[in-house]
Symmetry: C2
Subunit: 144 residues, 2 copies
DNA sequence: CTTTGTGCAAATTCTTTGCACCAAA
DNA sequence: TTTGGTGCAAAGAATTTGCACAAAG
């Protein structure tokens, strides 16, 4: 389970040198499975790593995504979200509170990496939008 | 077939008043099935509608999406794309040239609007990333 | 008239870039 | 030393906002 892995080892298994900042970011992603934005990560960490800069958070997440250690979720048009769980699953985003949940995928036919016509597929993404229980009850109107 | 519909009637069927600008934009979306960005639409139309402003293109697309006349595709982190075909289908984006294709969806189980646990789903999106034939041959390196 | 739509300019937000400094091999 | 990592400030790009004017009923 990713959650139990050692941040340093996790980085090294993806060929990423474990600096202080990188370890802090991976650790944060492992412990906070909320699909955070760059902003979320920065805000959470600059207290314990006071010199941390947003540029470093950007650089680091870009590196992680390139190396396959983290998944970039492009779901809403405001912010990219990040997920350290790279296994096959879908996502749900609430249009009202904008939180994202993991959704297990039973029949994963549609998500297989494969060839369609002339297209070489390297990534598949399935996501849902709607209203979570909390927001659906209060029904704060908001278009997706 | 959407493509053959009259732009004015199409707008009215979604309760949208057909101004000159709105008609021009719908017409463009019907005739150019390339999943254009705001920029694409603006660049294509300001020649024939010289007073057109980008703000109007933003306003108009926002209205269309709210009224369900157009689909907003959030696939890459750079630009939102728009699709006048709101029927059930998936999308493929080439990581190199960034063009988007429609992909027919056979088994659409995963895309049904339904209830998962406490979540009320109102939209489903399935998209693939990879390389199109043209870019795969030239293999211009580029991470998604 | 009154309401709705349009468009300019400015502001805001998110992300990237250039460059200097720091740290590890 | 040399290379790679970090962080500040500035730049860039996409989108939104405020407000005045125009158009339609």
């Amino acid at each position: 389970m990713i959650i139990n892995k050692n941040p340093r080892e996790y980085l090294q298994s993806y060929g990423i040198k474990p600096s202080l900042q990188r370890i802090a970011i991976v650790e944060y992603l492992m412990k906070n499975r909320i699909h955070p934005t760059i902003e979320d990560i920065y805000n959470a960490l600059y207290i314990q790593v006071p010199t941390l800069s947003k540029t470093t958070v950007y650089n680091t997440l870009k590196l992680f995504v390139e190396q396959g250690a983290v998944l970039a979720l492009v779901i809403d048009d405001k912010n990219v979200r990040f997920d350290i769980d790279t296994s096959c699953h879908a996502h749900f985003q609430c249009c009202s509170c904008h939180r994202i949940w993991d959704i297990p995928v039973g029949n994963a036919d549609l998500l297989q990496v494969r060839q369609i016509d002339d297209l070489l597929i390297t990534e598949s993404h399935l996501y849902y939008k709607g209203y979570c229980k909390h927001c659906n009850n209060k029904m704060v109107g908001s278009s997706c």
